[in-house]
């Protein structure tokens, strides 16, 4: 039946989304990944994601917070690293 396979499909998408969630991916990242690797249309991913969000509000709230924090931390760290490298490389060229 169409509905069965739909249900199954949605379940699969949910499963994949959950996998992405274990990697702290954002919705967009997830959409991209699933589209690229599983040929799932981004709109489908996004819809299922949104519906999951509705059903699991608290989870997603906490989740969003978490990844935002991580992202900002990461950016910060990377930026600092770049600066350090830049610094050291400049010094080297000076001495060079």
């Amino acid at each position: 039946m169409a509905s069965d396979s739909s249900a199954q499909y949605i379940h699969t998408v949910q499963h994949l989304i959950e996998k992405c969630l274990t990697f702290d991916m954002s919705k967009e990242e997830c959409m991209e990944a699933l589209s690229k690797h599983a040929n799932i249309q981004p709109v489908i991913t996004s819809t299922v994601w949104k519906e999951l969000e509705k059903e699991n509000k608290e989870f997603f709230e906490a989740y969003t917070k978490k990844i935002e924090e991580k992202a900002s931390e990461l950016t910060e760290t990377t930026q600092r690293l770049r600066e350090i490298l830049l610094d050291s490389s400049q010094k080297d060229t000076k001495d060079g």
Binding site: A7, H15, V43, T47, E51, E55, L85
Partner: protein
């Protein structure tokens, strides 16, 4: 050598007066009756003490005789070990000071001081640790068997117990969770603070381990964006980095991604089985690497009706509308044109550059020119080929109708095989 305990009542006729106070001794003090303290035969006490470097103060004596007057309402749960009986004149007295009147306890302490000084190699006495332990809820009876007061009662961390532990920790906040608070929240007497503390330590280290792995994996996608944003201006070093730091086995289907389950969730039985295997006896564990503490992502997740049976069985209770996919269900062939999309490469892409910031001078962080998702293919392939696998997080499924309706609004009818 002589080990002397002033409190020693060698004979069990003492016991009626001193409950729980059992002394093991090659008794040479014979108390005929009366108070223990009265019965202390000071001559005997001093016997053989001569050669000791004992600070035998007269004060102590005074103490003894003065306190002799009180036979306390002592339920002395001091106990003496019964081992070593044949060997030495060894007296180990472990005293629960809280049970004793203060004078008696000081007496005992002093007495034990004597003992320890007298017979340092032998007598093992530790009044204070016992005192503190006692207040932690450890049963005195358990203590009474402790020769040294240092032996810990082995705690059996059942899933139920552990679940309560995790609940308590989550409530307090993992970083702020203090063993004594946890103990309170759990409200179980047979646990000591020490048990909790060590369990907490383990829990935390596993969590860190897991989060670190998660973070690492997530970083790949993050990194991609970041590198894409800041292109390297310097010369790019095109060395074929095979992402050694990742540590992902190349062709293998990434087994270690699977165990990232939420602790305590019904569908998690596979992963947490490994650390606490004794307690969980659901289906036989699949051949996954033992992965102790799946990311305890969210205490919110486990269904409010945290049914203990969830720990033990892998029964995903299907909510109406979700397809049922119990393990024994024959793998449904599902119209999966999507599978085509998964080149069964299994191999992760070896991208020319991985941006590990240890570059020779003159270079900035290079950018990986290609999308860097090492293992996504295998993960996804897994999910697609084995639809009966449990959901990693076990979120509440979306309403199917909701999804369908929404999609139709967007112009999509389900099952988009054709639109691949």
């Amino acid at each position: 050598m002589l080990a002397v305990s002033p409190l020693r009542s060698a004979k069990n006729d003492r016991e009626s007066e001193m409950e729980g106070f059992t002394v093991e001794e090659n008794g040479f003090l014979d108390f005929s009756g009366g108070n223990l303290l009265d019965s202390i035969d000071f001559d005997d006490l001093f016997m053989g003490i001569n050669d000791g470097d004992l600070e035998m103060d007269s004060e102590i004596l005074a103490e003894f005789s003065v306190s002799g007057g009180e036979e306390s309402e002592r339920n002395c749960t001091s106990a003496v070990s019964t081992d070593d009986s044949g060997k030495d004149d060894k007296v180990s007295v472990s005293v629960s000071a809280s049970d004793l009147g203060s004078r008696s306890s000081s007496l005992i302490n002093q007495g034990e001081e004597i003992v320890s000084k007298r017979d340092m190699g032998h007598a093992t006495v530790n009044p204070s640790p016992e005192e503190t332990h006692d207040s932690k809820g450890r049963k005195s009876s358990a203590q009474s068997k402790n020769p040294l007061g240092k032996r810990k009662v082995k705690v059996d961390w059942t899933p139920e117990l552990h679940r309560r532990f995790v609940q308590a920790v989550e409530k307090l906040g993992v970083d702020k969770a203090v063993p004594s608070r946890i103990l309170e929240l759990m409200g179980i007497d047979c646990l000591t603070r020490h048990n909790i503390a060590s369990h907490l330590q383990k829990y935390r280290s596993h969590r860190k381990h897991l989060l670190a792995r998660e973070a690492e994996a997530a970083n790949w996608s993050q990194r991609r964006q970041i590198y894409g944003a800041g292109s390297g201006t310097g010369k790019r070093d095109i060395t074929p980095w095979i992402a050694p730091t990742m540590g992902f086995p190349p062709p293998a289907p990434m087994p270690h991604f699977r165990p990232l389950h939420v602790w305590g969730h019904p569908s998690v039985d596979q992963s947490f089985m490994h650390t606490w295997p004794k307690h969980l006896t659901p289906s036989p564990p699949p051949p996954q690497p033992p992965h102790a503490w799946p990311p305890p992502l969210h205490p919110l997740l486990p269904p409010p009706s945290a049914d203990p049976s969830f720990w033990h069985s892998h029964h995903h209770v299907p909510t109406p509308g979700t397809p049922c996919f119990p393990p024994h269900m024959p793998p449904t062939t599902f119209p999966s044109p999507t599978v085509q999309g998964i080149a069964p490469t299994g191999m992760y892409r070896v991208d020319p550059v991985v941006g590990v910031p240890t570059m020779p001078p003159g270079q900035t962080l290079p950018e990986p020119p290609v999308d860097f998702h090492p293992n996504v293919d295998s993960i996804i392939g897994d999910v697609l080929s084995k639809p009966w696998l449990p959901l990693p997080l076990g979120l509440k499924p979306p309403s199917i109708d909701g999804v369908l309706v929404e999609l139709q609004r967007q112009g999509i009818s389900k099952i988009p095989p054709s639109c691949a």
